[in-house]
Amino acid sequence: MRHTKRLILLAALLLLGASVHAADKVKVGFLSTLSGPGAGLGVDIRDGFSLAIKHLNGKLGGLPAEVIVVDDQQKPEVAQQASEKFMKKDKVDFMTGIVFSNIMLAVGQPIFDSKTFFVSANAGPSQYAGDQCNPYFFNVAWQNDNLHEAVGKYVQDKGLKNVVLVAPNYPGGKDAMVGFKRFYKGKVGEEIYTKLGQLDYAAELAQIRSLKPDAVFFFLPGGMGINFVKQFVAAGLSADSQLFAPGFSADEDVIKAVGAPMLGMFNSSHWAHDMENAENKRFVADFQKEYGRLPSLYASQGYDAALLIDGAVRDVKGKLDDKDALRKALEAKRFKSVRGDFKLNTNHYPIQNYYLRVIGRDGQGRVTNKSMGTVFTNHADAYVAQCQMK
């Protein structure tokens, strides 16, 4: 009898302890596209995230960090299984890493229902910025439309009159077209939707040739964009039509694969590797030292996602079970981003500057992006008004 009492007392103490004491480590479920044509994006986010944790001496908010990395193979059903495992078996405190919006939308709701915070380092679907916004979803990168809006604005200001738009037929692709057209008011020769993951663009390029546009705006992340640009140049279209893209389709991963044909291409971004601030200089230098290549915007986003988690965990002194306090701490965004200053809006998406970049040669003769100027200052997304955060 006494024995039982003691046991109960012990159990009660333990339970009490659990609610008072801070967690002894932070578990992060990192689910991303690490194989197939979209792999370059996921790998860069992962490497950026890892570099941040290295800079933080293997900790997040002062607690040892355990990051479980899983490849979603760019397949929603694979992602669903993996995120289920993260929630039920691994019992992670945070999830991050998803590249593609269709995958984000497929796994989002169960994650939010389980009160696990998802800190998106890439996918920023309009749904989660607007009427489906959620207290457990944060985006440290941008809303999908934003980079396309910046290109639309620039193309509009440049006075180009006839543009053909190309994007994959998935939520991110649709956000891209909508975003571009929000600020570009000229004629749209054609909106071409391609299959997600398509690699041969012969049919689309012939169609573009027959339309004779001044400019072609394309949003094709990863291997899709690499093939599109290569085939665009091979078809001899670059003589007549100027290529414009969001930073996704003109970052280091694409440049590395395509090379010189990309010289002179304008693109938009919220970050650039030549930005002058101490955090960015350290990030870019160490990333190159660690991985032997220039970081892309994806890598910067992965880095910032880790820092957002780090700041919030530190803020709540490791009490990861106090979800309300943790959310407030995430909302407060206590870290210095490599992109310079930005804050999180009421829908948990960034309010930040967007810049124009052009691909040129740097001091060492490498083909790479150079910052050109600011397109938007403190720009928010178009959906925040529809968001009622509950």
Partner: protein
């Protein structure tokens, strides 16, 4: 407009000829050995990876193609001698299961050797631009593919219809037992045909590598199309494989190019842009169903 149709037709031709390289080996193996080889796509993948590595090591795309074809032919022959030979007598289900396992093994092996990310294989610089053909620009590399594909198709046709070896192959396809009874070394013939089919796969993989991407699992999608081709063309028939490939190539490309704009004439942009690509991608299966309806044996049945 005419120029657009012409360009799309060339694109369809290019795609069709590459499909033919895959379908030719597949239809011979299926037709002669009565063997369903799902791992045919893995040989295509192996060819592309070998080409990428050999091109990188030697700096020459030609060397890359040669190494890929030779290496994959050897790989194919080894596979036939050690494993597939044991499957000929089994039923189709056992063959499907065994060769499906081969796909999984091949994908993992490639992942272990080359990693999960796509490997870069670029066309030679001289071919990376456009050429002017009859008043419009067309990518030089695609033109080369069309040339090589047409040449191989022609050679194969001569080989199968005009040589003794081809005669054995055709005889094997239409009546295996009789061919054996007539004293043809069918075992050796099978190994040779399999290795030859593997080399054609490797050629397709190496040629398409710079256009598409050299990556794990690249063989599966194209294998489905190759099966569609041989079903349309008639199993075991080289002529059927050629006609089927060109049909599928043209229908796929023209459908992808024309359907979305066609639908837009009487549907809203939103609906048309959703429906167009979806319809375009099922078009070849509609074609297959239609042909099977009127010609259940395919267009050119080998055992007619």
């Amino acid at each position: 407009m005419i120029q657009l149709i012409l360009e799309q037709a060339l694109n369809g031709l290019q795609f069709g000829l590459m499909l033919f390289l895959l379908a030719a080996g597949l239809t011979l193996v299926f037709g002669i050995m009565d063997m369903i080889n799902l791992a045919h796509g893995s040989l295509y993948m192996a060819g592309a990876y070998l080409a990428a590595s050999a091109t990188q090591a030697s700096g020459s795309f030609m060397v890359g193609i040669a190494v890929a074809m030779l290496g994959t032919a050897i790989l194919g022959a080894l596979l036939e001698v050690t494993l597939l030979r044991r499957l000929y007598a089994r039923n189709h289900l056992a063959q499907v299961l065994a060769t499906f396992a081969l796909i999984l093994i091949a994908n993992e092996v490639v992942r272990m050797i080359w990693g999960a990310q796509p490997v870069l294989l670029n066309a030679p610089d001289e071919l990376s631009g456009p050429v002017n053909i009859g008043g419009f620009l067309y990518p030089a590399y695609r033109l080369l593919i069309i040339g090589v594909g047409a040449l191989v198709a022609g050679l194969l046709y001569v080989l199968v219809t005009r040589t003794r070896l081809g005669m054995w192959v055709r005889a094997g396809a239409s009546n295996r037992e009789m061919t054996e009874a007539l004293g043809v070394n069918v075992r050796l013939l099978f190994t040779a045909v399999f290795a030859f089919g593997a080399a054609l796969c490797a050629l397709a993989g190496a040629l398409l590598g710079p256009l598409l991407a050299v990556q794990v699992g690249m063989g599966e999608n194209i294998l489905i199309l190759a099966f569609v081709v041989i079903v349309i063309g008639g199993i075991g028939s080289i002529r059927g494989a050629l006609v089927g490939s060109l049909l599928v190539g043209l229908v796929d490309t023209l459908g992808r190019a024309a359907l979305p704009s066609l639908l837009r004439m009487f549907l809203s942009l939103e609906v048309a842009s959703n429906l167009g690509p979806a319809l375009a991608s099922i078009l070849i299966y509609v074609l297959m169903a239609a042909i099977l309806f009127w010609r259940p044996e395919g267009l050119f049945p080998a055992r007619a």
